[in-house]
Amino acid sequence: MGIKEVIEILNRMQADGVIERYAIGGAVGATFYLEPIATLDVDVFVEFHAEPGSAIVSPKPIFEYLRDRGCTMEGEYIVIAGWPVQFLPAGSPLLQEALAASVEKDVDGTAARVFTPEHIAAIALDTGRAKDKARVLQFIEAGVLDLERLQEIIARHGLTGHWQQFERQFLK
């Protein structure tokens, strides 16, 4: 059991029409670009569908699909292949853009959709916890960011103040 199986199940969910598009973010997403970052859960961003006859979007079909395949709920997580997975709605313009711009990566023959490094960094700047700022620094130090693209995302989503504060704290 492992993250690769989580990815295979996400792909199956997509093929079965339970989710339209997904993208992995958080520490697992960052690990696609950086050294492995220890984490206890997997963050998966999706667009939730409205239930038939309702305008309200709901994660219920996701939970029902996975429950029928033996997965269990643990609080806000659903345990897939031994990993607690959190399905998060792409509920802000930044997250919607990140989901739309996500890229496909090959994991030993299995396709995985992941946020771009620039979007992971922008989301971390927006979230703004100490560990998020540390992640932005890791991206910068590793030299994996297209800084021009990051600046465009920052400007587009009103994060210039967050970036300036981050620069003052860590880069100057």
Partner: protein
Amino acid sequence: MKPDLARIRESKRVFRKELAERPIAEKLRMLDALRQRTLAIRRASNSDATKKAIVQETPQLPDNK
């Protein structure tokens, strides 16, 4: 003996870069192992202080390096 901090920092930087450049599947397997290790440490301790201290670990290189 005075530690050569510049050399240590450079060594860490090279180590992290080498880890980052490993195949994605291998890095994801490292995450699986790191999670198991973190959970084992947590199970072995009921101390809140220990739980709070586990934020991030540096993975070990596999033996076949």
